[in-house]
Symmetry: C2
Subunit: 140 residues, 2 copies
């Protein structure tokens, strides 16, 4: 295995970017690989930026933000704000909820069917519901 131009992960990620209409640039590919390589995760911009550094991926912080927002706009990520000092980007874009560990800042998924919301009220003034977030804060 001397050259590994395209690993399985690479191809998958490249296809996801192309399918969403985003140009698969070196930076986006590298960041997407970091984000989507393993199971679902909740990453901050700073986290991803540092991870890139660790992997010797040269990418600016602005590009990390650009990529995260581009991915979010294309539905590859979902942005979550818990406290007013930063947001997380969730690789799990299906409908689900979260435990938020206040001490550590860690987020943990709650499958949608584990929280049954009976009788969701209609939005006032005929507004359209765009999203429902349930956040369970725990001391942990």
């Amino acid at each position: 295995m001397r050259h590994k131009k395209t690993s399985v992960g690479n191809v998958t990620v490249l296809e996801r970017l192309r399918a969403s209409g985003l140009r698969p640039t070196r930076q986006r590919l590298a960041l997407a690989k970091l984000l989507f390589a393993r199971g679902h995760r909740h990453a901050s911009a700073e986290q991803l930026f540092n991870e890139a550094k660790t992997h010797r991926i040269e990418v600016s912080l602005a590009t990390v933000y650009n990529a995260l927002h581009d991915f979010t706009a294309k539905g590859l990520l979902r942005e979550i704000s818990i406290d007013s000092g930063g947001s997380y980007f969730d690789t799990n874009t299906s409908y689900h909820h979260h435990f938020y560990f206040e001490r550590s800042g860690h987020l943990e998924d709650i499958a949608a069917d584990r929280i049954a919301i009976a009788a969701l009220p209609d939005a006032p003034g005929g507004a359209e519901i765009s999203r429902v977030d349930v956040i369970i804060r725990v001391n942990g």
Copy 2:
């Protein structure tokens, strides 16, 4: 009515501050009056600061933040973060939920009994649930 050292509102607010163990300073009294004078509201620090200005209440922005956090710590307010650029302070401290109007940034209360959460999952690792927030985002 030449002097009005204590109006009914003043007394109530003063008592609330004393009861919570906060010294009823001129600034806290004025801010608390603005916050609690009428029905429930969701105020940002900037909003409250400008409101104070309008009412010719001389108070620094740092004091507004200090007061909001002190009130929150004593249970007179509840802090709500929706997006990562600022938080709201809710004068309604009873258990309830929110509509969030994404266009305007407006928050509207949803009475607790209008959202029936069946089967709230236990927190992982025996952690204790400190709060459950349901935020319904609407395009409005």
